[in-house]
């Protein structure tokens, strides 16, 4: 097992708790339920970008680094749009 492979597997495993946060929300405090789910989504976005970086390094494919860059941009925009939407209209 390569060092980068192990890192990729551990980062992939870290996505499971993020998915659980998105699914479960906050049952004890319903008023912040949606925001907790959004936070799970943003955390998963960060972990995803790191996972793509490590995978690109492991597979020795230079173009794959662009995927991480694009995902970082999209996560940023999506998080801001989601936060503003939840702030204003819901």
């Amino acid at each position: 097992m390569n060092l980068w492979t192990i890192t990729a597997v551990l980062l992939l495993a870290a996505l499971a708790p993020c998915g659980w946060i998105c699914l479960r929300g906050s049952p004890q405090r319903p008023e912040e339920d949606v925001m907790v789910r959004l936070m799970g989504l943003e955390t998963a976005g960060t972990v995803d970008v790191l996972l793509l970086l490590v995978l690109a390094e492991r597979l020795h494919r230079t173009p794959f680094f662009d995927l991480a860059l694009m995902l970082a941009l999209l996560t940023f925009a999506a998080g801001l749009v989601f936060a503003r939407f939840l702030e204003r209209w819901l």
Partner: protein
């Protein structure tokens, strides 16, 4: 050439920071305490793993793209944390600024 041991240490620190952040978001009570842990994964984890990739690739094309990702993520995480906290406060109180009548703000 940077020793593989240094890269291994950087990757271990990064993975540990990501896991601490994710578990903190999962387990901490209360929205704002959870929000703090998003920053652990978003700054220390990102910096360590990007540094490991940089140490491996040096400043060739992948290294420069990694630098871009690092800069973007380091800017993105505080902004996202701020926007999320602001949205949560607006939903709770109607406005994100200081609320003198609120117990949490007087502490």
């Amino acid at each position: 050439m940077i020793a593989p041991a240094a890269i291994a240490v950087l990757l271990a620190v990064g993975v540990a920071a990501v896991w601490i952040g994710v578990l903190g978001v999962l387990l901490m009570p209360g929205f704002y305490r959870r929000l703090h842990y998003m920053g652990v994964a978003g700054t220390l984890g990102v910096a360590a793993i990007a540094a490991a990739v940089l140490a491996q690739e040096r400043l060739h094309a992948p290294g420069i793209k990694t630098l871009l990702v690092l800069a973007l993520l380091l800017v993105m995480n505080p902004v996202l944390t701020h926007a999320t906290a602001r949205a949560a406060r607006t939903r709770e109180f109607g406005d994100w600024r200081l609320q003198p009548r609120n117990r949490r703000d007087r502490q």
